[in-house]
């Protein structure tokens, strides 16, 4: 059914925005997108620069690093090296999206479809976001954090606060829980568990054990050498709870940074999926509007031009190459997934027997909800896409003089390329595995960190600086030991003790 276009020309006003929004909402509902309510805010480019500096958060605590970010962006923008993103969207409930006033009507509609329906539904549906973020509370928490930091500055001086925040920021990537901890048991459950254990012990009682000679080493001391009993991955959490020399307000600052790090944790792991999903939906929704005749051809040309820019993937040897474009990869994967569902060929049937020919909306919804980049790629990257992107893998081994081409987009290489690309998007590849091994509670209170080397890769030079930051928070000596892979148990090479 053809309807009259909502508007012509590039101009927009608030009434038009609302009409476009309701048209897009209608289309989105038709596809079954489940979203938070939207709050769409129109801002100027100056305000966009402000928002950039605080990682897109609507408000943050004052810190020099945000100033640095602001200055860098402002300069790049003013000198024309860098355009501004068309939108920023915040994972909150209601979902806040920013539109820039300079944009044309077509761009505003693109941004609304992309942010307020694409990203929004991803935030609401993806399991990582559901598990790790509290969209209802984030804005309130930011307000609290800002006030708390400013109050601390007033009481303890800006320098003291800055020192703690600097150190926390250095550890931000190691201040997240990667796995959900079991909820603490209620008193009732705990009592029941103890009673059951007791009963079990009674059933197993055998007086003969008493006659065994006692172990030579005193057990107490043995137990004491190992604290924490298991290595701890969340450095900031450990410091917050156990650092011997921190003041209560400093602990609260550590906690604030830790909470923010946890809030950003899903974002880093779903870049391809999140952007791909949003791009797929702005493309699909606006095309639907166009089919209905709600938007003009000119509108669609402008949208497509921008869309094409966004999903452009330069080849590795072109001057523009700067890594694999998550928009391009994500968009292609979702589009390809839809194609596999709707028009599967023999290859697809062989590679994806479960989803070839299934209902695309259900399949995409399932993919969006239950994966992160790593698993999404290893599950859904099709040979056809590997060919289209002409993906190939280079092996960089320190022991060899040359780089080797490990595998390319051919029958022998599809699985390997897919595996390697997935691994490239995994957390381990980006964040070194550093855990707290020992806290000498009874001794010099020193802290020992272990870096478990990933395939022999060393830490970068900045590690020394980071250890200094840990030392500052901890207040007692801190040691970083670099360990070989667990199975080899190589001798630890020692980093300077600080």
């Amino acid at each position: 059914m053809k309807r009259a276009p909502l508007s012509e020309g590039a101009d927009w006003d608030f009434e038009l925005l609302e009409r476009y929004d309701s048209a897009i909402a209608e289309a989105a509902a038709g596809f079954g997108l489940d979203t938070f309510p939207n709050q769409i805010e129109v801002i100027t480019s100056e305000q966009m620069l402000d928002a950039y500096a605080s990682s897109g958060l609507p408000l943050g605590y004052p810190h020099w690093s945000y100033g640095k970010e602001f200055i860098r962006n402002e300069r790049a923008y003013r000198s024309g090296q860098q355009g501004l993103a068309y939108e920023i969207v915040i994972n909150s409930n209601p979902c806040i999206a920013y539109l820039m006033e300079e944009n044309t009507m077509a761009m505003q509609a693109l941004v609304i479809a992309h942010a307020s329906y694409g990203h929004n539904s991803f935030f609401k549906g993806n399991h990582l976001f559901r598990q790790w973020t509290a969209p209802d509370a984030i804005v309130d928490y930011l307000v609290f954090a800002r006030h708390y930091v400013m109050e601390c500055e007033e009481r303890h001086g800006a320098d003291a606060v800055e020192a703690v925040l600097d150190s926390c920021h250095a550890l931000m990537s190691h201040g997240v829980d990667r796995y959900r901890h079991a909820a603490p048991l209620s008193l009732k459950a705990e009592t029941a568990r103890l009673a059951e254990r007791e009963a079990h012990r009674e059933r197993q009682f055998n007086d003969m054990w008493r006659t065994l000679p006692a172990s030579e080493r005193p057990r107490e001391a043995q137990a004491e050498t190992q604290f924490p009993p298991e290595p701890q991955e969340n450095l900031l959490y450990f410091i917050e709870k156990l650092a011997p020399a921190l003041e209560p307000w400093q602990r609260e600052l550590v906690r604030i940074v830790r909470k923010l790090a946890q809030y950003f944790y899903p974002q880093g792991q779903t870049k391809v999926m999140n952007e791909g999903w949003a791009t797929f939906w702005h493309y699909t929704l606006l095309n639907r509007l166009h089919e209905q005749g709600l938007v003009t051809d000119g509108f669609m040309m402008e949208v497509l031009k921008n869309h094409t820019n966004v999903v452009y993937q330069p080849a590795f040897d072109s001057g523009h190459y700067s890594g694999i474009n998550p928009y391009a990869l994500g968009f292609s994967m979702f589009t390809d997934l839809r194609r596999i569902c709707e028009r599967p060929d023999a290859e697809d049937r062989q590679w994806f027997p479960q989803i070839a020919g299934s209902d695309w909306k259900t399949t995409l919804d399932f993919a969006m909800r239950n994966f992160k980049d790593e698993s999404f790629i290893s599950q859904y990257l099709s040979p056809r896409l590997i060919r289209e992107f002409r993906l190939f893998a280079i092996a960089d081994h320190e022991t060899e003089t040359d780089l080797g081409v490990d595998c390319i987009h051919d029958d022998a290489g599809y699985r390997k390329v897919r595996k390697l690309l997935a691994r490239q998007h995994s957390l381990e590849e980006r964040v070194p595995d550093i855990q707290i091994q020992r806290y000498a509670r009874e001794g010099d209170r020193s802290l020992t960190l272990h870096y478990r080397r990933l395939r022999g890769r060393p830490l970068s030079g900045a590690a020394v600086e980071v250890v200094k930051h840990v030392r500052r928070l901890w207040g007692f000596p801190v040691r970083l030991e670099s360990m070989g892979p667990p199975e080899k148990r190589a001798r630890p090479e020692l980093m300077p003790r600080l």
């Binding site: 608030f14 609302e18 929004d21 309701s22 909402a25 309510p37 939207n38 709050q39 769409i40 100027t44 100056e46 305000q47 402000d50 605080s54 408000l59 810190h63 020099w64 945000y66 640095k68 602001f70 200055i71 300069r75 209601p94 006033e101 800006a158 800055e162 931000m172 990537s173 993937q313 080849a315 590795f316 040897d317 072109s318 190459y321 992107f389 993906l391 190939f392 280079i394 092996a395 960089d396 081994h397 320190e398 040359d402 780089l403 081409v405 490990d406 595998c407 390319i408 051919d410 390329v417 390697l420 490239q424 070194p432 550093i434 870096y451 080397r453 022999g456 900045a462 590690a463 930051h469």
Partner: protein, 421 residues
């Protein structure tokens, strides 16, 4: 369900505080950069912002990350020629070439972090910890300019200052308070009266009735407005710092003053002008040049016109005093800067020093003398010797010597450094 909000009016500048944090943190580096810029710049350009370069490694925020080495594979798009098993030579040097450029964590780039200082920020750092001489005395004490400001309410004042709202409010409060108290008394008496009527105590009831009557008449006679309700708006006079300054530039343009010396003098005057214009809302410049005799000229003539002749310093001082008395006698902060090579002869130096001590300095906030020497090791000039006595005795007189461009700024800083040090 969806909401649209226009935030454009909220204004930008949320990051201003963060920007200032950044500047504060790198204050030493930024200061050094500003100093460098000052050295390079022309004096006319002093009054604008500038670009600051900071080495990137100084402002890096460290994080645990992977370094070079070990084994890894990475996937790249856009293959054209390679097949599995090909060997590729490692790109020469770190980070360059195809392939590992993407996420190699390549060698730390030595690029500078560049950003612009606004004019205000530049001048702030430029004049950092410089204090206007004798500023305290200007603000309190000798000034006789006052501003009348509101200061609450009083019970006395002129009718034109009557605060009707306050007065009526007070009156209302008084009436309510008094009437309430009367009402209570009336109620008690009425009860007594009723009891007396029942018990038949005639005498008591008559007394109560009389009192009641009295109370009632008092109640109805409560004045609407009383003297003690009246309030007047109060204003007090607060001394106002004089926010304007007159700056006298005195320069010797005799033959011995060559272009180089004039250039030095100009730098010095410009600095002083910039400095004053930051402290005072309004600064007037008066240029006096002198050879044998003094004359008031405009800026261009002052710096660029040549005139030959001898040197009589006193003539310039006398002219300055004349102009000061005529135009800047009251409510002006008078500053003076004199630049000369100090070649004065005969009785002139002594006469000038006396004139300064007795006439000019008491009426001047600050007097700075800059001697433009040929070289640093020059012997003291006649004028310098005489002026040295002044500098010893008086704290609003300062003198320095400068020989080349680089000297000017340090000299200026010394002359105007905080008095507290």
């Amino acid at each position: 369900m969806n909401r649209f909000i226009d935030r454009r009016l909220n204004g930008s500048g949320k990051s201003t505080v963060n920007r200032q944090r950044f500047l504060r943190r790198y204050k030493t580096q930024v200061r050094a950069e500003v100093k460098r810029m000052v050295g390079e710049r022309k004096i006319e350009d002093m009054d604008r912002g500038g670009e600051v370069h900071l080495p990137k490694k100084d402002i890096a925020e460290p994080n645990f990350g992977f370094g070079h080495g070990g084994e890894r594979e990475f996937v790249l798009p856009g293959n054209r020629e390679y097949i599995a098993g090909d060997r590729i030579q490692r790109p020469g040097g770190a980070g360059g070439g195809s392939g590992s450029g993407a996420e190699g964590g390549a060698a730390d780039s030595q690029d500078d972090f560049v950003f612009s200082l606004s004019r205000e920020e530049f001048l702030d750092i430029f004049f950092d910890d410089l204090e206007l001489p004798r500023l305290t005395r200007t603000q309190v004490g000798t000034t006789d300019q006052f501003k009348s400001v509101r200061a609450g309410y009083t019970t006395q004042g002129s009718p034109s200052n009557l605060s009707v709202k306050r007065t009526l409010g007070n009156a209302l409060a008084r009436r309510i308070a008094l009437r309430g108290a009367l009402k209570q008394q009336v109620a008690t008496l009425e009860a007594v009266l009723a009891m007396a009527a029942i018990d038949g105590h005639d005498r008591e009831s008559a007394q109560a009735a009389e009192e009641l009557e009295q109370l009632r008449s008092r109640g109805s006679a409560l004045p609407f407005l009383e003297e003690l309700d009246v309030r007047y708006r109060n204003r007090v006079l607060r001394p106002q710092p004089v926010a304007r300054a007159a700056m006298f530039c005195l320069m010797d343009v005799s033959a011995s003053m060559d272009e180089n010396k004039k250039d030095l003098a100009k730098r010095f005057f410009t600095l002083l002008y910039l400095f004053l214009s930051r402290k005072y809302r309004h600064v007037e410049l008066i240029f006096i040049r002198h050879t044998d005799d003094a004359e008031e000229v405009d800026e261009n003539t002052f710096f660029h016109d040549t005139k030959s002749g001898g040197t009589v310093v006193c003539s310039a001082l006398e002219l300055m005093e004349k102009i000061r008395a005529e135009r800047y006698a009251d409510n002006w902060n008078v500053y003076a800067a004199q630049a000369s090579d100090g070649d004065a002869f005969g009785s002139d130096p002594a006469k000038s020093a006396r004139f300064l001590r007795e006439t000019l300095l008491p009426a001047t906030r600050y007097y700075a003398y800059l001697e433009l020497a040929e070289a640093e090791s020059m012997r003291s000039s006649n004028l310098w010797v005489e002026y040295e006595f002044l500098a010893k005795d008086l704290d609003n007189f300062a003198m320095k010597r400068a020989a080349n461009r680089e000297n000017i700024y340090p000299v200026f800083r010394e002359l105007f450094s905080r008095e507290t040090q």
